[in-house]
């Protein structure tokens, strides 16, 4: 070979690197003298196909991409079974573990990635492997001949493919996954659940939401211990929980590395003459783990090395498919909904078909297909090309032309196929609704909703459901007026009026007199009636704790794992060292797993066992922060004039005064207040239900703000001069809200519904304000601290303990 050729050395003989070389050979066959070092003892092979080898679709020989003859005929010097151990970037030389040294003009690092092995105790035991290369595949094949039970940790693409292969080899296979649904990186929950069912039918088992803790066994693995104490037996454990770019060599050699080896759009590292492609490279913050983007990178690198003009690599949108026979899964792009995007879904549980298209600004940005992936390629190309799909969304989803969709409603409903989805949120088909009407005896939209869940979520399909009702039930269709819940046809105002008119004094009475359809109501009407009665008859009504939600019954927030959280009252967010010590001591004593600040400047002790609640309250000996109820939560404050150099008023003092005045108040929904000491508004008072902002010589009062799901800034109610006036207006506003809003209606919604002016008008007259103030004070005088009460009353306290120890008889 001519010595004029430049020396090109590549470390790593895998898919991305060799693809770049193939490309380069086409563009500039004479330019380089090429040397490749590969740690594996094989020529380059198609790693993707290892899954198929395991699942019986291919043999090892089938998956070789370039055999030794190819390297030879292209003049490539190949060192298999050689690991490059160091690079001297100044002398431009690489060294291998077998003592070979090789100098280069240009160097490509294509070292791929390493499987991520969970650092579990026992992970070094025999029988614990990854799924990455031919060696792993051979171990699985050998193990299956002598052992029965396999566990795959990781329910992603790779894990499921490994599990499918092991099933093929005759092993009993369980997939352990930390999430509640599998392939959560590629699928949404609906598609994932359908996939799981399909795989279960193939014989795969699933252990979901499981945290692995230790690998059991002496020399060889015998089982896996989970954090919840359960144990699963296993003779083989395959970890497929992720990969990490293989960057050790680069890092040691002083090449810039983050998660992967950092490259620019031309695959150049920060070190002159050194390039990187493949899973080991990080481009614009992303290290890809799929072949398609790596091939695009390889093409750019080849052009660069060949001196051909290129725009460079700009990153890739990826798509994935699960290579498991019998199930078709495809996902591409951004398949979860994000702000600003909308989704169309089609779900047919009978045929096992699911489709989801995610659309943003009239462009398709993501798709998930299950069961029928025939459209995958077309959709993927539309995603990559940023095509405008306005007007053809439904056609893409349903494969029906838009003309058919545009025809008049009745007609279209009649001709619509039975498996067409009417309610996208809940995947209810036309057939299911027709069936509910024709044989299920549903004669109202409410009944159809209760029976099929159609229109139970966003309600967007309600017109279609009504149309179907007309179509199939005809004259039998009844239009039922919907009340506050399914138990009554009466609305909030009618109920309140009737309670007043007939002086109804208990929940049961209301239900009897007003003809409730469910004798004991439901979780919607019971708490609301309990609230209305308490609001209307503060002195006489005895609160029904069994009609309150869990949080309010146990005076703590129930968390998803069934534990509770405790938030002591800290007025205005101001505490003392002594109280902090007390809180810390109680937290330590009861092994509270997490202490955090709440969104409203209070301390949250999370993860408390229900049995411990009364004991903790007793030791804290502080009032309840009511962080759980439909009640005043917190009054957030800034530093104000006490310390702040801008503050014009005492925000802290004002906040404490308000919090003390209104604590324990029952309200239609939770209520949050804030006080800022100057218009800089550091306490963010303008997104609270009632916000107070100091101005020079007075206070601005704001109402109807919310920082939750629907952010709403407050409306200015008025400006007042004195602290007492702040109290007066706050009292009047809160009581007016208590008396007029629907249960569960935040002030933000309420203000929008009734209009700011109507509230201003109602509060305008001083006499009215004072009357409202008097009523709220009468109610507040009757409240007491629930924590203290439970601590002191055995009859209440018993409900926190398990019932007596069982005795066998």
């Amino acid at each position: 070979m001519s010595t004029l050729r430049k020396k090109l050395v590549m470390v790593g003989n895998g898919m991305a690197g060799v693809r770049a070389i193939e490309h380069l050979l086409k563009l500039a066959p004479e330019a380089y003298e090429i040397t490749i070092f590969g740690a594996e003892p094989h020529p380059n092979y198609n790693r993707i196909m290892l899954s198929s080898v395991l699942a019986g679709g291919a043999s090892m020989n089938d998956i070789i991409i370039n055999d030794l003859e190819w390297y030879h005929s292209n003049g490539i010097r190949l060192y298999t079974g050689h690991t490059v151990t160091s690079i001297d970037t100044r002398q431009k030389k690489v060294y291998t573990d077998k003592g070979i040294e090789s100098s280069y003009d240009e160097l490509i690092l294509a070292t791929g990635s390493n499987p991520f092995m969970l650092p579990l105790p026992g992970a070094e035991k025999e029988g614990v492997i990854a799924f990455r290369d031919i060696k792993d595949t051979q171990i699985m094949q050998e193990t299956a001949k002598t052992h029965r039970k396999a566990l795959v940790i990781g329910g992603g693409l790779l894990g499921l493919e490994a599990a499918r292969g092991l099933l093929h080899l005759g092993m009993e296979v369980s997939v352990v996954h930390i999430h509640e649904y599998i392939m959560e990186r590629q699928l949404d929950e609906a598609a994932s659940v359908m996939l799981r069912k399909e795989l279960e039918e193939q014989g795969m088992k699933f252990l979901l939401k499981k945290q692995s803790e230790a690998i059991l066994g002496k020399k060889r693995v015998k089982g896996l211990l989970f954090a919840d104490g359960e144990i699963a037996e296993a003779d083989l454990i395959v970890m497929a929980v992720g990969i990490k770019p293989n960057v050790e060599l680069a890092r040691k050699s002083g090449i810039e590395v983050n998660r992967g080896i950092i490259v620019n759009d031309y695959m150049e590292t920060n070190t002159p003459g050194v390039y990187s492609v493949g899973e080991c490279a990080e481009h614009r913050g992303i290290a890809y783990g799929l072949v398609a983007p790596l091939y695009e990178q390889g093409a750019v690198l080849a052009k660069r090395l060949a001196g051909v003009q290129t725009e460079g690599y700009a990153g890739s949108i990826t798509s994935t498919k699960l290579k498991v026979s019998g199930v078709d899964v495809f996902s591409a792009g951004q398949f979860t909904e994000q702000p600003g995007s909308r989704a169309l879904r089609y779900q047919d549980e009978i045929e096992g078909v699911y489709k989801k298209l995610v659309i943003k600004d009239d462009k398709l940005v993501g798709a998930v297909l299950f069961g029928d992936t025939g459209d995958g390629a077309q959709l993927f190309s539309m995603i990559k090309n940023h095509e405008n799909i306005k007007g053809m969304e439904k056609e893409l989803l349903l494969g029906v032309s838009s003309d058919a969709l545009a025809s008049p409603k009745g007609n279209r409903l009649e001709t619509m196929a039975d498996d067409e989805i009417i309610c996208g949120c809940n995947g209810v088909s036309k057939g299911a609704i027709a069936e509910a009407i024709q044989s299920g005896g549903c004669t109202s939209v409410g009944a159809i909703k209760a029976c099929t869940k159609a229109s139970a979520s966003c309600g967007g399909c309600k017109p279609l459901v009504e149309g179907l009702l007309q179509l199939y039930a005809g004259d039998n269709a009844v239009t039922v007026k919907e009340g506050i819940c399914g138990c009554t046809t009466l609305g909030r105002d009618e109920i309140v009026a009737e309670i007043k008119r007939m002086e109804l004094k208990t929940v049961k009475e209301v239900m009897n007199v007003l003809d409730w359809s469910n004798d004991e109501g439901c979780s919607k009407c019971r708490p609301s009636l309990n609230y209305y009665l308490g609001m209307l008859w503060p002195e006489e009504y005895i609160d029904e704790k069994e009609s309150r939600f869990t949080n309010e019954r146990y005076h703590a927030n129930i968390q998803k794992d069934g534990t509770y959280s405790v938030v002591p009252r800290i007025y205005g967010g101001v505490t003392t060292p002594a109280d902090l010590i007390k809180i810390a001591e109680v937290a330590a004593k009861f092994d509270v797993p997490m202490v955090k600040f709440t969104g409203g400047q209070r301390l949250d002790l999370l993860g408390v066992k229900k049995e411990d609640l009364p004991k903790m309250w007793e030791e804290l000996d502080m009032p309840s922060g009511h962080a759980y109820g439909k009640t005043l939560r917190t009054v957030k404050t800034c530093v104000g004039s006490t310390f702040c150099r801008f503050g014009t008023q005492d925000a802290i003092g004002m906040g404490i005064r308000l919090e003390k005045a209104f604590e324990r108040l029952n309200t239609p929904a939770k209520v949050k207040l804030a006080v800022s000491g100057c218009p800089r508004n550091c306490a963010e008072a303008t997104i609270k239900d009632f916000g107070v902002v100091a101005i020079d010589g007075g206070w601005e009062l704001h109402i109807g703000g919310n920082g939750g799901v629907h952010v709403r800034a407050t409306d200015l109610l008025c400006v007042v001069k004195t602290d007492d006036e702040v109290l007066e207006w706050a009292s009047a506003f809160l009581q007016y809200y208590r008396e007029n809003a629907g249960w569960n209606e935040r002030t933000a919604q309420w203000v929008e519904r009734v209009g700011l002016d109507s509230i201003k008008q109602a509060l305008d007259d001083r006499e009215e304000r004072l009357a409202l103030k008097e009523r709220i004070e009468a109610t507040l005088r009757l409240t007491s601290d629930p924590w203290k009460q439970i601590v002191n009353e055995p009859e209440l306290r018993k409900n926190f303990e398990p019932i007596s120890q069982p005795e066998t008889v």
Binding site: E520, S523, R526, T550, T808
Partner: protein
């Protein structure tokens, strides 16, 4: 099958519940307005919510986490959701009010 004495009816509030642990299984006992005491496994088929913490309406309990409804007699989840919770046989001594549970 074991039968055991697990407590007395007056330890459970009406429309209230108490739980107990038998082996590894948590069981929720409910006392209805009718006086009946019913026992089911304390685990919602949806996401494992503790049903003992839920609201009792008639002979149904609403799960505290996401409001699925479980019929306390049959253990069936009510439409539109689906699923089933294990139920256990309960006997009450009319004289003493003792609750016996068969597991």
């Amino acid at each position: 099958m074991t039968k055991m004495l697990v407590g007395n009816v007056n330890e459970i509030d009406i429309k209230g519940s108490r739980k107990l642990l038998v082996g590894n299984t948590e069981i929720a006992l409910f006392r209805l307005t009718t006086g009946e005491v019913l026992a089911i496994e304390n685990k919602c088929p949806h996401k494992g919510g503790a049903l003992s913490e839920g609201m009792v309406c008639g002979s149904r309990v609403h799960c505290p986490l996401h409001d699925w409804r479980v019929d306390l007699h049959s253990g069936n989840v009510l439409t539109p959701d689906t699923g089933h919770v294990k139920t256990y046989e309960v006997e009450i001594d009319p004289e003493s009010g003792s609750i016996y549970l068969t597991i």
